[in-house]
Assembly symmetry: C2
Homo-oligomer: 108 residues x 2
């Protein structure tokens, strides 16, 4: 989980993931979309790869990156599990004194 949350903790990396939703891209194509050096993007891709969020496939001199939805599902499961295991607090109702006089309305 640590590596996963680390991967998500950067706007550039989240943008890369969003881009890959529309289809696979080469490292160069990804880098072209950012105002950032290629080595920097390469580093971000490496972190996404370490987190198993993307898969890299070398095709000749190009490297194509694609989403790995399996791991995305794991993160989702983490949050669902978290939610479901939250214990609902007993609502502490304000203590109200018993009325000494009971109003009683009788049907006619």
């Amino acid at each position: 989980m640590n590596t996963l949350f680390k991967a998500f903790n950067d706007a550039t990396r989240r943008e890369i993931l969003e881009m890959l939703k529309d289809g696979d891209m080469t490292a160069g194509d990804i880098a072209d979309k950012f105002n950032m050096s290629k080595p920097s993007i390469s580093h971000h891709l490496d972190l996404l790869k370490q987190a198993d969020l993307v898969v890299a496939v070398k095709q000749g001199q190009f490297i194509t990156y694609s989403l790995n939805m399996t791991v995305m599902d794991e993160v989702l499961a983490w949050f669902v599990q978290f939610k479901s295991s939250v214990k609902k607090e007993e609502i502490a109702l304000p203590k109200v004194e018993k009325p000494r006089i009971r109003l009683q309305i009788n049907k006619q």
Copy 2:
């Protein structure tokens, strides 16, 4: 989203969230569960508060922290939305040549 993912990107903070699932706790009680100074825990609580993941209520000299599930739901929605907007790739079927000779089996 940035502040949220930042909040999740630390094991101590995630542990604090897990602890609060079982019920509200004071800052001191939380700190006692960790092998870490109170100011450090206080800082983590501050980041969780900034991300709106927890709510702090002062009661006398104590401060009680509790989960804010609303924001947790937002993160969950982010992932659900992400998943649902992934375009399924057309599976590139390998190109197979048309057979020059068609095998034909006739029913008797």
